[in-house]
Symmetry: C2
Subunit: 236 residues, 2 copies
């Protein structure tokens, strides 16, 4: 924990990606004391969690917890099961429906755990870096889902029911384009060199540059007119 602070505590879901690092920086800039929560949901690679550690350190958060849960045991996603991650998809292909990298109930599980952590801390505020613009087509990144979960949070908990806490799910990036997220983060001093985005990195953790996530990231930096500080396999 950091030294005493009068800031209100907030739980921030931190994946190690570009969006969640920016969301954490926004929470801090808004005056919250950040308690970061990373969920190790059986990702096929560990580089994302290493990035989460680095981002938590860089932001000097009050606490960083990593909870492991084996969503891979449930199967059904290219990110947890043994299914190939799509590569070099065109904009049209990416815009067409919900991709195989969708992890069933991922954000519902992550918000549930954030809610438990928040209630134990006495924190009413939960930040999640979802984005409905360049969102890869995931249903659990939309405002309607977030609003419904906020209602669940206040009905599910002792603190919510007894009125001690009025839970709010903050989605500071939900209406931002990827370029706007990056510009906002740069203004707040986020170091994007320590974030990890790629769905299919090599053994050294170098991003492929061709999966949907890499393509969205690269387009975001290009649109923002900022150089992406990470390396890609296809540049090497």
């Amino acid at each position: 924990m950091t030294s005493a602070s009068n800031a209100k505590p907030a739980v921030v879901l931190l994946s190690g990606g570009l969006d969640s690092a920016t969301s954490a920086a926004i929470a801090q800039a808004s005056g919250y004391e950040v308690f970061a929560l990373s969920i190790d949901y059986g990702q096929r690679h560990r580089f994302e969690l290493e990035s989460a550690n680095r981002v938590a350190e860089a932001l000097q958060v009050a606490e960083h917890k990593i909870l492991r849960i084996d969503l891979a045991a449930l199967g059904g996603s290219a990110l947890t099961a043994d299914i190939d991650v799509p590569q070099r998809r065109s904009d049209d292909e990416m815009a067409d429906g919900i991709p195989i990298t969708y992890v069933p109930a991922r954000n519902t599980v992550m918000l549930s755990l954030a809610l438990g952590y928040a209630e134990v801390l006495g924190a009413a505020d939960i930040f999640i870096g979802v984005n409905a613009v360049d969102y890869s087509g995931y249903p659990d990144c939309r405002p309607a889902f977030i609003a419904a979960f906020e209602q669940v949070a206040n009905l599910a908990t002792k603190a919510g029911v007894e009125g001690a806490l009025n839970f709010r799910i903050h989605t500071p990036l939900i209406d931002f384009s990827k370029a706007e997220i990056i510009r906002c983060g740069i203004e707040l001093g986020v170091d994007y060199a320590i974030t990890h985005t790629c769905y299919a990195p090599n053994n050294q953790g170098i991003s492929c540059g061709t999966c949907d996530a890499c393509q969205l990231r690269q387009k975001g930096f290009a649109d923002a007119g900022i150089v992406d500080p990470i390396a890609y396999q296809d540049e090497q």
Copy 2:
């Protein structure tokens, strides 16, 4: 898996307790093929999960998955953290607010995981053995919570959003007294000898007979006019 069946699949949350065993039996009797899901959320004792295994076997479910998640790392409950379980509380004390055995966001986490499993299976139906009558005062056992979560389920998922599945959270016990649950289970052939209820068993797994859960169970059997088939420490 059991042999081919035309029954619709349902995910049933199975704790190993009396309520969830009854809920699973009701799902089967209603014509569903049961896919049981037990969550090992860092309970202080393992006897509950052993009971879940025995119940899954007795019911010959299609599949039984156990997912581990360390809610104890978040703290805040006598059931996961190093806090004493209350003993020999009177009816008035038990009726007075939400007890220390409340696990933050427990049912939200469990339903989220059941939702992920259901989506992977293509199952629209999820059973949870919550009970709002003899419910120990937990907020996430109430109909308002269940209705809100059902809404989340249909907004959070690819299958829900695309209309392939219309998720329903079934709570067959929600309006039953403990005695009614037991009578219903006995009619369906549930063997309550293999269920585990106690919050504070001894090293051999023998129930204390004095925690809230044991007291509610004993009162339920007494009200139903049925002999509780398990042993208690205070009888020995």
